[in-house]
Amino acid sequence: MKWKTNILALPLAAAFAVGGLAAPAVAQTPKSGGILKFVVPDEPPSFDGHRETTFALIHPIAPFYSVLIRPDPQDPDNPEKFQCDICTEMPKPTDDGKTFTFKIRDGLKFHDGSPLTAKDVLATFQRIIFPKEGISSARVAQLAMVESVTSPDDKTIVFKLKHPSGAFIPALAAPFHFIYSKAKLDADPRWYEQNVMGSGPFIFDVREAGARITGKKNPNYHHKGQPYLDGFEAIFAKTQTLRVQAIRGDQAAVEFRGLPPKSRDDLVAALGKDITVQESDWNCLLITSPNHERKPFDDARVRRALTLAVDRWGGAPALSKIAIVKTVGGIVFPNHPLAATKEELQQMAGYGPDIKKSRDEARRLLKEAGQENLKFTLANRAVDQPYTIVGTWLIDQWKQIGVEVTQKAEATGPFYAQLRSGNFDVALDFNCQSVVNPLADTTKFLGTKAGDQYGRYTNAKIEAIHDKMNKTADVAEQRKLMRQFEKIVLDEEAHNSISLWWYRIIPHRSYMKGWKISSSHYINNQLDVVWLDK
């Protein structure tokens, strides 16, 4: 069926087009041995991948686990190249695209020596998709198309969907879907929050709270000959200066999240050929979320005025020099087939080519709403890159239409506690996803139904459009519906406004080989294909 090819190819179709900025690697034979040291900006809140959504978990913990499927580590943004990790081959959908049957490899073992079977995979995905009360799963919404997961025998796992969906395979390949031991989950469903025991390329070795996590090579890893490294050391370093200096002083080879352009330039100037830079558009964006339950942000005119004031086209070139943002875009990953073109963007509030005209309209709307002297507090995360930098820029943009804004930047914990409680005026939130998958990634904009949308709004119209978009197999129709969805979210109702899409820059020591950048800082961190050319 024609739709299958199209729909499965769609989610990542553009990512690879912009992700390959790194110099093409000359094929080399990987060398075994050595310890990879890398810096991580933050510590994981827990060790449970099913619950968490942060790179702080993925970077130090993903190497300990296997997943069912994953993007190809050597071509992580290619939509045609999802590959099996513990399954034997990527399945062809049956039952009109509604059933996916995976066969599990023979001889898989957890690090404690117990066998890994389809029953463990079943327990894992039951926990992720249909979590029991008291269990927190962060990606229920993205796998909402799954009707059931079953395991007819120890080697087979079957996913049955409610309707055919091109979003399923990319959603299944999320790197957070660690395969857990059924025995451990049966004994204590929350065991994995505080413990690590997987079947991945590395075995958990040491954790020194606040300092580092180390792993040693798993000699029984199911990808033969891998991992190449003897082990890894994830070093926690909260300040960016410290992380850059660690790379510069060769105390670490890389930081996998991303550094700003200035740090890249400094490292290149200081290290020359000893540093290699990989860059990519980043499947992350900052979202301004007005609290719809608080006046005057319940008024669409005020929300529209705030987005109209922002000069995205003018700000992007300058901000891209000082922050990890670069691209002007709508709600879909830039350059993706479902993303708005520049001409389409320019039809929406806040994206017009004439900023003076936009700001005049913003002032008119504020006057009409009786909010000419609007003052509010912008709730933000106390993280420089890119939160406070973009926040500071937005405050300057809003000042141009006479709106006075105070920034309140808080640590991640208190910041999200504030957002969840609804005690804020306007918040600067983010939407970072792993595998580029717009049909699932845009669930963030569904309002309170999304679960992680703090704007506290509901809109039946956009829910209906999104549902329809997910059920249609016609890409042209999906695109048309996406424009309608986007127009309501960003323009007519201005439920959210988007600042700029992020841009990922990874300068790493040239001796680190085998690692390829992707459009997500969550992807490609199992480290089984990484090796050191020393």
Binding site: T239, G314, A382, I395, D396, T406, Q407, E410
Partner: protein, 298 residues
């Protein structure tokens, strides 16, 4: 019998003249040139803070992406930061933040410390014993640690930073003032006031507090410099005032780390402003102590 009577004019000459304000200032400057220099820095800061809009033509929060990280030149005497904001304007306006936080937190903290210290000394006994142990608990924490804890509880922002700095100042001021008040408590005029049936409040506020003003002023001036330093530290750590408010510590945090090599002016000038301000207040405070301390005069 010859008698000598002092003429009225001779009597008048024997009474020392009350020194004028200018005369006192002159004497202070002559005796304490370093203190005078400190005072000059303090006054310059105050002038900068009060007349900031007249001293610069740039708005300290205006972004100018056409002038990002410009080196010092005729347009921007101290250069610009990563948002293209004029550093001179931000330093001048930053004096407002520094002085607001410095003066308010020091004055409120020292004043509360004054009341508590004198009261503790006046009542003595178990009250004094218990109260001083509570002060010991607070003083066991370094000033910056206690301020960090307070900010962690109350959150960031100018008002909360003032609270965060005020609280640790109170026990320090109370302890110093109490030491002087203990001696004053034993003075005959305090006994006389008690014998006359004056209320405790009247004795504390009208008879004891005015007599511990010298140590109070000294601790006050010393704490302003400390408060400025703590405000800068908290802002540098991201726990003080927030962007885009012009504040020296925040300026060091913002771009100074990242651009220290390629645009050193982003780090140098705010750092210099903090150094000078603290240096000025400390010099002034030390000289004031020397000048007011009768033992130092001998």
């Amino acid at each position: 019998m010859a008698t000598e009577t002092a003429s009225p004019s001779t009597v008048i000459e024997d009474i020392p003249r009350k020194p004028t304000v200018l005369g006192t200032l002159g004497a202070f400057c002559r005796d304490n040139p370093l203190g005078a220099f400190g005072g000059f820095i303090v006054i310059t800061m105050c002038v900068m803070a009060i007349f900031a809009p007249l001293l610069t033509s740039y708005d300290p929060t205006d972004n100018d992406f056409g002038a990002m990280l410009s080196a010092p030149d005729w347009d921007h005497w101290l250069g610009t930061d990563q948002f293209g904001r004029d550093l001179l304007s931000r330093i001048i306006y930053g004096a407002r933040t520094a002085l607001l936080v410095g003066f308010v937190s020091s004055f409120v903290g020292c004043f509360l410390g004054l009341i508590l210290g004198v009261t503790s000394a006046y009542f003595g006994g178990r009250f004094d014993l218990l109260f001083q142990r509570v002060m010991d608990v607070f003083m066991a924490f370094p000033l910056i640690i206690l301020a960090l804890a307070v900010v962690a509880i109350f959150g960031t922002g100018v008002f909360n930073v003032i609270i965060a700095i005020t609280i640790p100042v109170i026990p320090r001021a109370a302890r110093i003032v109490r030491a002087s008040a203990l001696a004053i408590r034993e003075m005959p005029y305090v006994d006389a006031a008690r014998a006359n049936g004056f209320s405790h409040a009247r004795i504390i506020f009208r008879h004891m507090m005015p007599n511990v003003m010298a140590p109070f002023l000294i601790i006050l001036t010393a704490q302003v410099g400390q408060a400025i330093l703590i405000e800068a530290s908290l802002s540098y750590l991201g726990l003080g005032v927030q962007e885009p408010v012009p504040a020296w510590g925040l300026m060091l945090r913002g771009g100074a780390q990242e651009y220290a090599e390629s645009a050193p002016w982003v780090a140098i000038f705010p750092g210099l402003a903090i150094t000078l301000a603290v240096f000025g207040f400390n010099l002034f405070g030390d000289s004031l102590r020397d000048w007011l301390d009768p033992k130092m005069k001998t």
